[in-house]
Structures are given as C-alpha cells and as structure tokens.
Symmetry: C2
Subunit: 369 residues, 2 copies
C-alpha cells in the first residue's frame, strides 16, 4: 500500500454556509480581487453575498468578470496583471470551472510577474495569493483541487497545472448558488463530476482513500440519475450533485483524470461541446475498452448504478446527453493524436495506443445511427 493524501482546502458545505462563516473572508487581508464570468456569479446570488460581506468587513475589492468559457492563457494573463497592479491580498473565485480555474492562475500571476506559459512549469518564486472558491455549478470540483485547466491555443487543447499551494484555502459550497443553472448545464456539469469520480476510481493512480470517496460519489450520482433524466431536480438533488462534484474534486486531486478528459478536450476545443457533455459521450466505450484491465472496479461502478451491463450504464448517460456530433476521419485522427500527448493518458487503467483512441472515437461518433 503506497499512497499520498492531501486536500489543502477547508470546506464549508451547506445552505447558507457563506453567510454563516463569513468571518473567514476577513482572515486573508484588506484587498481582494473577485474573479468571475459574466453570468453565474451574478445570477446565483453568490456575488451579491460576497460583496455584502466584503463591504461589512471594509475589505477593498475589485471585480474581474471577464473570465471566458474555457479560459485561455491570454485571459488569465489579463486577470493576473490586474491583480498585480491592484496589489490585492487574496483572490475570490466565483462560478463554474472556468472562473475557479482562472482564479488559481490569477493567484499565481498576481504574485509572480511571469509569462502565462510559465504557469506550466508549476514552480513559482512566490506563493500564489490565497484563493477562496465558491462554485455555482456542480461538476468541476475545482473548489477542492489544486488544478487550473486552461486552453492552450498553441497546443490546440486544454492543459492543467497546479501544485499544493493552489488548493483554494476555503471553499464555500452551497447548492443554493447552483439553482440558477439551466437544465443542460446541470446535466453536463453533473456528468463531469461523475467522470472525475469514475476516471479517478479506474485510474492507475487511484488510492484506497480516493477509491472510498469515488465509490461514495458514484453511488450518490446513481441516486440522482432518474431526477437528471426526468428534469426533476429539486434542492435535495442539487445538494447531492454538488456533494458528488466536491467528492469528484477530492478524487482527482489524488488521481488526476484519464482518457475521457483527454478526448473530451478536443470536442470542446474544436467543436465547442460543453466539457461535461464531451466527457460523458465517451463513457460507454471507455468502460468497454478498460473492462478487462479493471473488471472488478467496473463491476462495482455498475453495481453502484444498479445496472448489470456497460450498455445499460451507457443508456442512462445517453438519456442525459444528446450525441449529435459527427466527426470525419481526419478529425478522429487529430483528436486521438492530441489525446496521446496528454500526460493523463498514461494513467489510464489499460495502456493506451493511438489506435485504441481512434477506435473509441469511431465507435462513439461514426456509428451507423
């Protein structure tokens, strides 16, 4: 038995947790930069709550609300420059995965005047500023991971960095902030969370503790599957999904992801398919591909979903996500080749050859129907 464990984030989970624990915001300094996008931070009410608390504690703040969907290096460079110039003490990320991941990059760039490409060196002269994370979607888990996943236009994909100093110091995780999500975003992000738990569970880097958390996550997702399919998503389902998302984040903090994420990045980069949906579409073939390598664990996934075959599992995911994508042979070749370059591909249970990825892509996107 050989493993590491580290979650550098203090988690407060539950309705009203930000207000109840607002004094925590007053521990990180007198000047903050709020990093967010245009949408969910406002719609969710989280930004209003944060502003109210910052005013109450007389903490100066600015808002950088230009985080793009799937933020680029150029995007976070702008946020980092603003943080550096304002000389803020800490960063508050509010939103889905994009703003939360961006806030980590901004926290590093605020403390280190480096080229954004140097983020990928993952070693910095100065510690990143403390990060507070407030998720408004239930999928990324970024609030409890050290990872920042940014779009690399030079590489035509998304790639991650992060080290033990980029764990958010505090995560306020309140399902009330996820209620403004559309049905599609709810489903897509939920499937992302499932993907984290499942890829982590089946990863070569899985640990006994990450497995215990992954099993809990997959089980709870299974309890929500019918509500997701039926668009019958009440507050208790939203809480469960947010809990699954947090667990998924804790899992991948130890395991990273594998080929589902690697393949999904291409669908997002080239076809603008939302990240969670991009992952989910690969799940059926991913499980079939890996079955012989980790059959006991995959049987456990099926048991947790209360199904007996991978196809039954795949059918559940298909009811959540519409596969309306057609890929050409050239696209399939390109995506497979880009996925082979992802470090995470080497952590997949079964050793991956480019032809295997082509096969998965063809079965998923070149099927007769």
């Amino acid at each position: 038995m050989q493993f590491g464990f580290q979650i550098g984030t203090k988690v407060l989970f539950g309705k009203g947790c930000l207000i109840t624990n607002k004094a925590l915001l007053n521990k990180f300094g007198k000047k903050a930069l709020v990093v967010t996008g245009k949408g969910s931070a406002k719609a969710s009410g989280a930004l209003d709550d944060v502003e109210e608390i910052l005013k109450e504690y007389k903490i100066e703040y600015s808002i950088y609300d230009k985080v793009e969907n799937n933020p680029s290096l150029e995007n976070v460079a702008e946020g980092g420059k603003i943080a550096r110039e304002l000389n803020v003490d800490f960063i508050i990320g509010i939103g889905g995965g994009s703003p939360l991941d961006a806030s980590k990059a901004v926290a590093i760039l605020a403390a280190n005047d480096i080229e954004p490409l140097e983020l990928y060196k993952n070693v910095f002269d100065n510690k990143p500023l403390p990060i507070i994370a407030i998720p408004t979607t239930a999928g990324t888990g970024s609030e409890v991971t050290p990872y920042s996943i940014l779009t690399r236009n030079d590489m035509k994909t998304k790639m991650s960095f992060g080290n033990e100093d980029t764990f958010p110091k505090v995560a306020f995780i309140d399902a009330a902030y996820t209620e403004s999500m559309s049905y599609e975003t709810t489903v897509n992000t939920a499937v992302d969370a499932l993907s984290h738990a499942m890829e982590g569970f089946l990863s070569r880097r899985s640990t006994p503790v990450s497995d215990a958390l992954a099993i809990e996550a997959i089980k709870i997702f299974g309890e929500c599957a019918e509500a997701l399919i039926d668009n019958n998503i009440d507050f208790s389902v939203r809480e469960k999904l947010l809990y699954v998302s947090m667990l998924g984040g804790m899992v991948i903090s130890h395991t990273g992801t594998t080929i589902i994420h690697g393949l999904g990045y291409s669908l997002t980069y080239f076809k603008d398919i939302p990240h969670g949906k991009a992952n989910g579409l690969f799940m059926r073939e991913y499980l079939k591909y890996n079955y012989n390598a980790v059959n006991e664990k995959i049987n456990k996934v099926l048991e947790l979903f209360k199904v007996s075959t991978i196809d039954e599992f795949g059918d559940i995911i298909d009811k959540m996500l519409k596969n309306d994508i057609n890929l050409s042979s050239e696209e399939i070749q390109l995506y497979a080749s880009l996925t082979m370059k992802q470090r995470s591909t080497s952590y997949n249970a079964r050793e991956v050859a480019e032809g295997d990825l082509i096969d998965i892509l063809e079965k998923t996107f070149l099927s007769p129907n």
Copy 2:
C-alpha cells in the same frame, strides 16, 4: 446537508515513505526538536531514520524523549520550555499517541509562553510551530488530527484541545515503524482505531465524508479481526491496521469521539488500563445502548464485520481483549460522573444521562461472570 471538511495534513503512506520523501523535512527550517518517548521511536527505527535525514540536511536538532504514557500538562510544559529556549523552527513527533499528542502541545508552547492550562483556551497569539508526525503504533490517528489529549490531574481525566493550526503539516505513515509493537499493544491500539471510526460513524457530528471514511475503516478492520485474534499479524495486516488508524483519525478530526472515549479515560486514569483496551471493553454495551437511536448505522457496522448481532460483534472484541477489571459501585459512580463532564458526551447518538453510563459500566464490569 451541512458539513465541514478539513484535513490540514499532507499524508505520505507506505513502506519507505520517509526516506523517499525526506526532502520534505528540509522545508521547515534549520533547527528541530524531536519529541518522543523512551521506547518505540528507537525500537521502530524511525528515530534513526529521522536523525540520519536531519544530519544529511544539516538541520540542527535536539531530542526530548521524556514524553510519558498519557502525558500530563506538566510533561508537555517541560518539552515546550525546552523548545522555546532552543528556539527551534519545527517539531518532529515520533511514537504512539502520547508522543504525537505531546508534540502538538510542545509546538504551541514553543511559540507561546503561556501556562499549560491555557492550552485549553484553544486560541493562541502565535501559530504553533510546524509539526511533522511519524506514528509507531496503529491506533491513535493523531498524525492526521488536530487533537492533543493530555492528562488533567486537576480534573482526574484526559481532555483534548487543538485547532486547525495543530494538524501536523506532514505525516509519514509507514507500517515498518509499527513492527516493533508487542502483540498486546498491537491489539489495544487497533481497537482504539476501530473505536475512532465507529464512534465517529455513530456520532451526532458525523458527516457524509466522515461516514464514507468510517465505513472504509470499519470494513478493513473487520478484514483484520481474525489475524488480530490469532496473533497472526504480518506486514500486510500491519499496513491495513495503520490505514484504519489514519482513517479513524480523519473521521474524528470531523466528529470527535463520544462516550466510549469518555468512559475509557477513567479506566486509564484510575486503573492504568491502556487507552485502546479501555475503549474496546465498552463497545458491546455502547452499541446496545445506542441501537434504537442509530439502528441503520449499527446494522451497517455489523454487516461490515460480517456478523448479525451486537453480541457476535462483542464476542469478537472479547477475543482480542481480556476483561479483567472489577469496579466498585463508588468507582462506577465516579467514572459516570466524570464522563458526563466531557464535552464529547453530548455528541453521542443517544442523549446521555448519568444513569445510562452507570448502567453501561455495571453491565461491563459488574456482570455475574
């Protein structure tokens, strides 16, 4: 769903983890105090390994090896004074629960020249020195908790303190360092770990995450029960027990303990019964007492142990621990009364009255056999 989660410790688990990750010791300063007892740190080989690494990195160090079994306030006050006078940068605790708990107190007292009784205020002007924890028993879980449990001679019991700054910064958890334990210590400490997981699982403060970890811990302990009874404890069993111990620590970091620990402290204080054994003896009556309040969870415990009744569970524990204690009515009255004063008693699943504790004590120690 309302909960918090925080484990402020970076864990390295596995054979050779200290040597493999020795560079971590070089991150905390140039002067260390090693806090330990007379026995296990040396016998286990852990102290030798630590000294070798400190010499390699030219880190000055002193050794305070006077930690008592069940250390008193007076004991840690001496260690704290030495640390303060030596002006060390960090503390390395090596040993069972006693040295590890003492190292937390020493880390606080090194940075704060206060009366030891003020440790229980749990708020300190200066942050405690960083603590590195290396367990040599598999029971305490102290390597991943913020708690320091010291003997209060003024209160005639043991009481705990600790806050988020007293989590060890790094825990090196290697079953090789637990191989020098006697059979009795192995069993007693293992039962302590089980108690952490079980009390945490049944506590009013249990959380979804602590429950997932507790279930894993109880299941793995169950896998080791036969080996413990048969004194057939090979390295893989030692690793499992150390893993259970770590999980138990993570559980009680969120839940604290309940009446088993409260009652056990009296047996240890007045009768010198080892801590784990003192806990284990109460388990049968504890489960019966709480059954109606948390029957589903207790059924889960029995299922994880692969038994169908509480008495079958109790019989397994009885095969591990010899109940050779007789208590007078006066002693029972005193122990019940002292346990009522423990804050942890209020976290027990069933609301506890003093008469209930008397009943548990009588059934355990005044039975006809």
